[in-house]
């Protein structure tokens, strides 16, 4: 039987055309969505359903030279609330009350905060204690998710805060060792990806770690926590006693290795006051730098040690060389007088250091000449950073003979520590070279790094140059010993139990090209005499009581030397110890 073919009437083909066009439109739209704009929609869908979080790597621990913890990381939780999940009032009520109880905040305020938020996941609390977070996790509250984080703890409190520095919210070091060694400490952060359902809730087992974090290395510092605290206590007391308006510095270093044993500054950063810092205030902002490393000052008479070392090394004088001090010397028409406006008559070079005679320093510098004097300044590392492993180091300012406004007066004043600015660390490094046999050693604050697998790499002392000969160094140690242990009189900077050497300095503070009545009282000393274990610089900035370096800073050195060397277990070699049977 033949089938009859239907007639193609309008009733048939018109709907067919309409439906065909409709199908074509749908097909075109599919092409647009699935092919042309696939990436965009795929990303949008991915963003809607999945999210990622940074997993911060465990930051390395900072230890003192004896392995005591100075700064460590503990695990914490960052707590988020899903705004979508809390659209259900009943769930929001239950969850917010439990969360508020755990965090110690107001539940209503919490709900309001989430309701007003423009993001889906609202950060409620950062660095919540590990135990509290665990309890919240176990409670499985609706809409609450937690990301692992770490926070820094400082068991020693504010001790060494200015050296250690602090980190930001993104676990990056912002100041101190934390910033300077951030790359080593921080490790590599990872990424976690999790999936959400249509209500914004995390899908169980939808989490996965896309990139695992790599923990940072530990740092072992050269700092000794006990000595650091000792120095800070001494400095705080001295600043108060001598009314040092701009604070001060105590820097203790091993002169042979350049290891910094303590570095105390005042005013200094305090962990306990970190939250109160107002970084728009210049005084607060200045706390972020380490004054002993960044700030420069004119060292005053301490510089005579360097001048004498250069003159003796060059062979133009010896400790016994004499000259006549009239109390004043004329340089290019300018009269330069002694600090105390006294004259001392015939003096040896040792006497120049003992009485801190300016004219004697000028005498040595003249014999050396500007070129030789400046070559020694270079050899001692002045005018450039020491290369210490801390951030923001200053290089100091040295006027050179080829500067356009150079004058012979500059050479004369530089010889006793004016017209030259140095950092406390730079000066300590230079004097270390004077007493350690003549080697300029790079100061450092990191003794070793310990990788997560336990691999320890020690930082070796680094000699960056030779400043003077070993013989000159021996001579200088003896001359500096004659300063603190003069015949026939007592000196406040002489330790009672150990032999020592040192030199005081009292420098005027330059203000706009001139000097006013403000001063910096300082003292640098070492002990024991033959094999120095410590070199200490004490500096009091703008002490209003008018005490000189000998009066204000030298006694601190004497006390510190006795306490420090006793603590380090070094046998006394001075006159103060008592032999059995002699007591």
């Amino acid at each position: 039987m033949a089938l009859q073919r239907a007639q193609g009437t309008r009733r048939v083909w018109l709907p067919a055309i309409v439906m065909g066009l409709f199908a074509l439109a749908i097909f075109a739209r599919l092409i647009q969505l699935q092919v042309i704009e696939h990436e965009r929609y795929a990303q949008a869908a991915d963003a809607e359903l999945s999210a990622s979080n940074t997993i911060y790597a465990r930051r390395g621990t900072i230890l003192d030279r004896n392995g005591n913890v100075l700064s460590a990381s503990v695990d914490t939780w960052d707590i988020y609330v899903s705004a979508r999940a809390w659209r259900d009032d009943a769930e929001a009520q239950t969850a917010s009350e439990a969360l508020a109880l755990a965090l110690g905040v107001d539940a209503a305020a919490l709900r309001a905060r989430v309701a007003e938020a423009e993001t889906i996941d609202v950060l409620i609390a950062r660095d919540v204690e590990f135990e509290v977070g665990n309890e919240l996790s176990a409670a499985s509250l609706p809409g609450i998710s937690m990301n692992a984080n770490t926070a820094r703890v400082n068991p020693e409190g504010d001790t060494g805060a200015a050296v250690l520095g602090f980190i930001g919210l993104d676990n990056t070091g912002l100041a101190g060792v934390e910033a300077a060694w951030n790359e080593v400490l921080q490790g590599k952060p990872g990424t976690a990806i999790y999936e959400r359902d249509t209500t914004g809730e995390r899908i169980p087992f939808g989490d996965h770690v896309a990139i695992a974090p790599e923990p940072g290395s530990d740092l072992v510092l050269t700092i000794d926590r006990h000595l650091q605290k000792l120095c800070e206590d001494y400095l705080r007391a001295a600043v108060e006693k001598h009314e040092a308006k701009k604070g001060g510095t105590i820097l203790m270093m091993h002169p042979g290795t350049g290891e910094i044993l303590c570095l105390a500054t005042e005013p200094a950063l305090k962990f306990s006051e970190l939250g109160d810092l107002d970084l728009t205030d210049p005084e607060d902002l200045a706390l972020l730098k380490n004054r002993a490393v960044s700030d420069t000052y004119e060292p005053g008479s301490v510089m005579k040690v360097v001048t004498a070392a250069a003159a003796i090394d060059r062979g133009v004088v010896s400790p016994g060389t004499t000259y006549v001090d009239n109390g004043v010397v004329n340089v290019a028409g300018i009269e330069i007088r002694n600090w105390d406006f006294q004259y001392y008559g015939t003096q040896t070079m040792t006497g120049v250091l003992q009485h801190s005679i300016n004219t004697g320093a000028v005498y040595m510098a003249k014999l050396l000449g500007a070129e030789a004097f400046h070559s020694y300044l270079d050899a001692f590392g002045f005018g450039r950073p020491t290369g210490v492993d801390l951030m923001g180091e200053g290089g100091g300012i040295v006027r050179r003979p080829d500067d356009k406004d150079w004058s012979p007066v500059d050479l004369a004043t530089q010889s006793f520590g004016q017209s030259i600015s140095v950092t406390p660390l730079q000066l300590t490094s230079a004097v270390a070279a004077v007493i350690n046999g003549g080697n300029l050693v790079r100061p450092h604050i990191v003794k070793a790094t310990v990788e997560p697998d336990g691999d320890r790499r020690d930082v070796q002392p680094r000699v960056v140059g030779r400043a003077i000969s070993e013989e000159t160094s021996d001579t200088m140690r003896q001359m500096m010993n004659d300063v603190v242990d003069p015949d026939g009189r007592t000196y406040p900077g002489n330790p009672s139990l150990y032999t020592a050497g040192g030199k005081s300095g009292t420098a005027n503070i330059p203000i706009y090209g001139s000097y006013n009545d403000q001063q910096i009282a300082s003292f640098i000393g070492f002990a024991p005499l033959d094999d120095p274990e410590i070199l200490v610089l004490i500096m009091l900035d703008d002490n209003r009581d008018g005490a000189t370096g000998t009066e204000a800073a030298a006694p601190i050195f004497a006390q510190l030397a006795d306490e420090t060397l006793g603590y380090l277990g070094i046998a006394p070699d001075g006159d103060g110890y008592v032999a059995a049977g002699a007591r």
């Binding site: 005591n68 913890v69 460590a72 590990f130």
Partner: protein, 146 residues
């Protein structure tokens, strides 16, 4: 209109399944088993993967928890051994700051022989447990060998 659902064909065909009393078609049974197993395999795999995934996540969570606890304990130890804590504890048990130390030098000679820890001394010769040989005992009686 129930007839509309009747299968077209030429009468009832015998189904190739094992029937009681008849011989089973093992090929068909085998094929059915393979098909059934193939159908179940993804389900089993999925189940197994999910279980393992859960266990892995659970273990990772426990590991993270334990690591967190370790770091918390380390921080506690660091806090307990901090200088401030030690000083506070020393004061609590009645200790105070030490006075000026007196260092002494010993001008007496040391004990003779020096008292050296035994582990640093050379090993003592142990007496032999073996009996003395006959020829040695004989020779020992000879005056020349005394």
């Amino acid at each position: 209109m129930a007839a509309i659902n009747h299968p077209l064909g030429h009468g009832r065909r015998s189904l190739p399944i094992p029937l009681p009393g008849g011989s089973p078609n093992w090929w068909v049974l085998g094929a059915m088993a393979i098909v059934g197993f193939s159908a179940m395999l993804p389900v089993l795999q999925n189940s197994w993967t999910t279980t393992r995934g859960f266990e892995t996540q659970d273990l990772e969570a426990r590991q993270a928890q334990l690591n967190g606890d370790i770091r918390q304990l380390e921080a506690d130890v660091a806090n307990l051994t901090s200088l401030t804590r030690i000083e506070r504890r020393a004061l609590a048990i009645g200790l105070g700051p030490g006075g000026t130390p007196v260092y002494v030098t010993v001008d007496e000679a040391g004990p003779a022989p020096a008292k050296i820890p035994s582990e640093l001394l050379p090993e003592l010769e142990r007496a032999s447990d073996e009996p003395e040989s006959m020829w040695r005992s004989l020779f020992s009686r000879v005056p020349l060998l005394d």
